[in-house]
């Protein structure tokens, strides 16, 4: 097994989950209605839990403790796609991002349930139910707001347009793409993107929303290699503030 390739895969997945988990948790107490506030916060906690499961795998491969990895790196050491670090904006954007990311996340884990790297396959099988609910939640909101009234439709379409090229950036190639595929560790980003496009297209059609025309597609790359927007630094700082205050504290 190629450990470097696996580590890179684990890092980008774990960082995606940690950053979106933190972003989504920023809605706690500020959600549009109580029931949604609780649901969105609960899913954010699921994401943090999933990221922790992956940081534990990284620790088993020789990386530092999960808390150390999560809370002591600088922004340029994170491998998340830029989509996930963007500010929450209004609820339309947060929902569309949740929709675009969670469909990809579900398919990624689904493919990894058959990975030749058994520890990751095990995690993938364990989170299946959580991801199914997250996608169900996203689909329900997107379908409802995509067609509720003119304002909700316009907002959702604008949010989708804004998020689109960032979303394509989720599928940035790894330098180890060929090894991952050859060793049956992962199906690769291109296959994942194809499956993702087909799944989200079906829901967006139902929601009356359109994917931006393909001649405007221009994936925002770099996140996987540590290149980030100016928004990730303050997020990391806020997320790790308590940890950095006393890194040796027992919780």
């Amino acid at each position: 097994m190629n450990t470097e390739a696996i580590k890179e895969l684990l890092y980008k997945m774990a960082d995606d989950l940690l950053i979106i988990g933190h972003r989504n948790s920023e809605w706690t107490g500020l959600g549009p209605i109580l029931e949604e506030d609780i649901s969105f916060s609960s899913m954010a906690q699921d994401k943090i839990g999933q990221s922790q499961a992956l940081y534990v795998l990284l620790h088993e491969l020789g990386e530092q403790e999960p808390d150390t990895v999560a809370f002591t790196r600088n922004a340029n050491q994170f491998h998340n796609a830029q989509l996930l670090e963007l500010p929450n904006g209004e609820y339309d954007f947060s929902l569309i991002r949740h929709f675009l990311y969670d469909h990809a996340d579900q398919l990624r884990f689904e493919a990894l349930a058959n990975s030749s790297y058994e520890p990751l396959a095990k995690v993938a099988r364990k989170v299946k139910g959580e991801l199914k609910y997250h996608v169900f939640h996203a689909n329900t909101w997107v379908t409802k707001l995509g067609s509720a009234n003119a304002e909700s439709h316009a907002r959702m379409q604008a949010a989708l347009n804004h998020a689109w090229n960032y979303a394509l950036g989720m599928f940035e190639h790894s330098t180890h793409e060929d090894i991952l595929i050859a060793e049956n560790i992962f199906i690769g980003e291109d296959s994942l993107q194809d499956k993702w496009l087909s799944n989200i297209s079906a829901v967006l059609l139902k929601a009356g929303l359109s994917i931006p025309s393909s001649d405007t597609w221009n994936p925002v790359l770099g996140g996987r290699k540590g290149l980030h927007t100016e928004h990730l630094g303050p997020l990391v700082e806020e997320m790790s503030e308590v940890f950095r205050y006393d890194p040796t504290a027992e919780w």
Binding site: E35, I38, S39, M43, Y133, K144, E238
Partner: protein, 121 residues
Amino acid sequence: MIISLDPRVNRAAIEADNNIEPLKDLDQWETYEVFHQKRRGDQHMHVGIVHAPNAEMALIFGKEQFGRRGLSVNIWVVKTSDVFTTEYDDSDIFETVPEKQYREAGGYKVMDKINKYKKGL
């Protein structure tokens, strides 16, 4: 500007004299009653209420409000307005005269027979 210990509130840059117009009465989603089932085959039990614009949203909210602790295998939602109830003013319909022991399990004198049998042993 409202200054808070919560950085999210500071980021929102809320004016201190912000006049928030309160929602009008009933300018909200209707309610759904949520029932959950602990095990397949068990009866569904009422666990609470959620606000939702349709049944599907009520299901996603019901799952997360009442089913997130891993204690459920199934959830029902029913529009509150579709639930018909008796009136509390009429709760005397549940009262019954006590002189009808023949209708209750305790009214059967089987214990006497059992005790008699035990003594006979």
